[in-house]
């Protein structure tokens, strides 16, 4: 925990913990006694891009699941802008400003690209709000704007089912963008993409991360180096190391976990 604070580039952050956008403290979740996440603490600053890396089974996806409310924490706290998230429902967490992209593209196959984006538009989220929702100029313009950003402006009327894998990933990123979250969580955004798609995605991510904090899980080290402000290394449910990519790469503990026994 102290290491995390010391490595923070923000001066005075130790004295003012309320400045963190996201403060995860002593987070633990156990499934039948197995601690998938064990006493994890880290802090994300506004506008920071934080990448979580670690070997398979380190608990990376579980940490995202805990933040977005999909999994309930056993103990510990997750504070987002001072608000405790562990007590909120998934939809309330989204409405508070946290967006989540899943590892496999999670989009609505039976709907068109336009409709996929429309559902994510942050208005009319109650039952009667949805019933009386009007597809007005504001909605249309925003959807066209987002479609342009995610390279899908010519596919708006196409059913999402027929998109390529990479396009599906972009669509899901677009669905998050239209929510305009302050904290964006991406689980392996470039996994399974071709080289061309990967470059385009990096460009897309660089464009959309402005003005928000991003929490990314990624295996592709080249990609991590390109985008990360700071890196948190998880291993067996615990924080193994944290800091800049340079620092983490030379950390003997990290080298041991990644390179051998």
């Amino acid at each position: 925990m102290n290491a995390a604070l010391l490595s923070s580039p923000v001066v005075g952050a130790e004295a003012m913990p309320a400045d963190y956008l996201l403060a995860v403290e002593a987070l633990t979740v156990s499934f039948d006694g197995f601690k998938a996440v064990n006493d994890v603490s880290f802090y994300v600053d506004p506008d920071e891009i934080r990448v979580i890396i670690g070997p398979n089974g380190a608990g990376k996806t579980t940490v995202l699941d805990l933040i977005c409310g999909r999994t309930k924490a056993s103990t510990g706290s997750i504070k987002y802008k001072g608000q405790e998230l562990t007590k909120l429902s998934e939809s309330a967490i989204v409405q508070a400003g946290v967006g989540r992209k899943f590892q496999t593209p999670s989009i609505y196959d039976d709907l068109t690209v336009f409709e996929n984006l429309e559902i994510s538009f942050p208005r009319g989220r109650s039952v009667f709000g949805a019933l009386t929702f009007k597809r007005d100029a504001e909605v249309r313009d925003r959807i066209h704007e987002i479609a342009q950003t995610i390279f899908l402006k010519d596919q708006l009327k196409e059913r999402a089912e027929f998109l390529s894998h990479g396009q599906k990933q972009w669509l899901e990123i677009g669905m998050l963008l239209i929510q305009d979250p302050e904290l964006l969580m991406l689980d392996e955004p470039v996994a399974g993409m071709s080289v061309g798609e990967r470059i385009k995605t990096a460009e897309l991510l660089n464009q959309i991360i402005k003005g928000r904090s991003v929490l990314v899980i990624e295996h592709d080290m080249k990609f991590v180096e390109d985008i990360a402000h700071r890196v948190t290394v998880l291993h067996q449910g615990k924080v193994l190391s944290e800091g800049s990519m340079e620092r983490v790469k030379t950390d003997p503990k990290v080298i041991e976990v990644y390179l051998g026994h």
Binding site: S91, Q95, I119, V127, F133, E158
Partner: protein
């Protein structure tokens, strides 16, 4: 090449989400024409009344299209809501038929005959509201919807879904049947509520009254189709489809999934209740045999045969299956249930989208080709029009 983008944007703003597509208006006109014009002209009073009875099941099938087809919630207990709506209406009619003069031979005049036979001497409290017609008309829908709300809220909040939900709805259908049969003094038991005569002084047993009720029923059915179409076309309808495929994603788009499922289930219950009340009015009685497991499953078959994603298909499916039921069960009463089971299996295996699917995939494309051939459009416009028209047609 900025032109294609501009034309695309334009076509989107002009006509991107009409209430009904032309072909849907045509389907509606066809259905309304058959129900309100062709059948009344072609059939005698008895057969027309029979069709009227079938059409009351179409309300249930319509609800199932939204609840099962769109929202993916399979309910095997729609008979509960059909029955509750029907019983609410029957209670009013029974009280009117049990006036003091009509029942003066009873030991307690003025209460329904079956209560008197069961040594009940005063009208139970839950029968009291059904003395008033306006209150009854409200309760016909309110009681089943409230019941649906309680059941579905309790289950969907706990994230009970899929098969478990279907089994629980079936259990509720069984429980309600047993309750009605067991509480003979309060409900009329296995015989149901019979000997219904007048609605606010108007005799519902005459041929003339039956024709009028048939048209009221047809009108209500079309109103319900339009209401369902509104729901289907709204963003809520698309959220239901989205939920069916990726429930988690909907949750992480900021929606409380349980609320939407509750809405779909309550809407289906409301439609079923209207059907039940119209059944009571047209057939002249209500009994537990319309509440239980078998009728509930039959109602699912109507929707499946018609096409669980098509509002119009559900109505046609209901008519077709019931027509088959009447014809076959007159000739081969023992075989009918097997026939019905075989029909269900055949539809699910071969035509998962039912009649509507066959129409959409086989007949409609041929028709449109014919129509297009007749019109002979100028070749210069054809390709540019084709793109936006062809794309959303799937």
């Amino acid at each position: 090449m900025t032109n294609p983008v501009q034309t695309l944007t334009k076509s989107v703003t002009v006509n991107d989400n009409p209430f009904m597509k032309p072909v849907e208006w045509l389907s509606l006109a066809l259905l309304a024409g058959v129900i309100l014009v062709v059948l009344p002209l072609a059939l005698d009073g008895f057969r027309l009344n029979l069709v009227g009875k079938y059409l009351t099941y179409a309300f249930v099938a319509l609800g199932l299209v939204i609840c099962w087809g769109y929202a993916g919630i399979l309910s095997l207990g729609q008979g509960v809501f059909f029955g509750l709506g029907g019983y609410c209406m029957a209670m009013y009619l029974k009280l009117e038929a049990s006036s003091v003069e009509n029942t003066k031979i009873q030991s307690t005049p003025g209460i329904p005959d079956f209560m008197d036979w069961n040594q009940i001497t005063a009208l139970p409290w839950f029968w009291q509201p059904f003395k008033s017609l306006p209150l009854t008309l409200i309760l016909v829908v309110a009681v089943p919807v409230l019941f649906a709300l309680i059941i579905s809220y309790a289950m969907f909040k706990r994230r009970v879904g899929g098969t478990y939900f279907a089994i629980i709805t079936q259990a509720i259908a069984a429980i309600l049947t047993i309750l009605i049969v067991g509480q003979q003094g309060y409900t009329g038991g296995i015989n149901g509520i019979t000997d219904l005569r007048t609605l606010h002084g108007w005799d519902i047993r005459t041929d003339h009254a039956k024709v009028i009720l048939y048209f009221v029923n047809g009108g209500l059915l079309i109103a319900c189709i339009l209401a369902a179409q509104y729901v289907k076309k709204s963003k809520l309808g698309r959220i239901l489809v989205a939920m069916r495929d990726k429930e988690d994603r909907v949750r992480f788009s900021g929606y409380s999934v349980a609320g939407f499922k509750v809405f779909a289930f309550c809407l289906a219950a409301g439609f079923a209740a209207i059907g039940g009340a119209m059944f009571t009015l047209q057939v002249g009685f209500m009994s537990p045999s319309f509440v239980g497991i078998v009728p509930s499953i039959e109602m699912v078959i109507y929707a499946a045969v018609g096409g669980r994603l098509s509002l119009f298909g559900a109505v046609w499916g209901t008519l077709l299956v019931n027509w088959a039921k009447t014809s076959f069960s007159e000739s081969f009463p023992d075989l009918w249930l097997f026939g019905l089971g075989a029909l269900f299996i055949a539809v699910v295996l071969a035509f998962p989208n039912g009649l509507a699917g066959i129409w959409r995939e086989q007949i409609e494309p041929r028709l449109t080709r014919r129509v297009k051939g007749l019109r002979a459009p100028p070749p210069a416009i054809a390709p540019s029009q084709k793109a936006p028209v062809g794309a959303p047609a799937e």
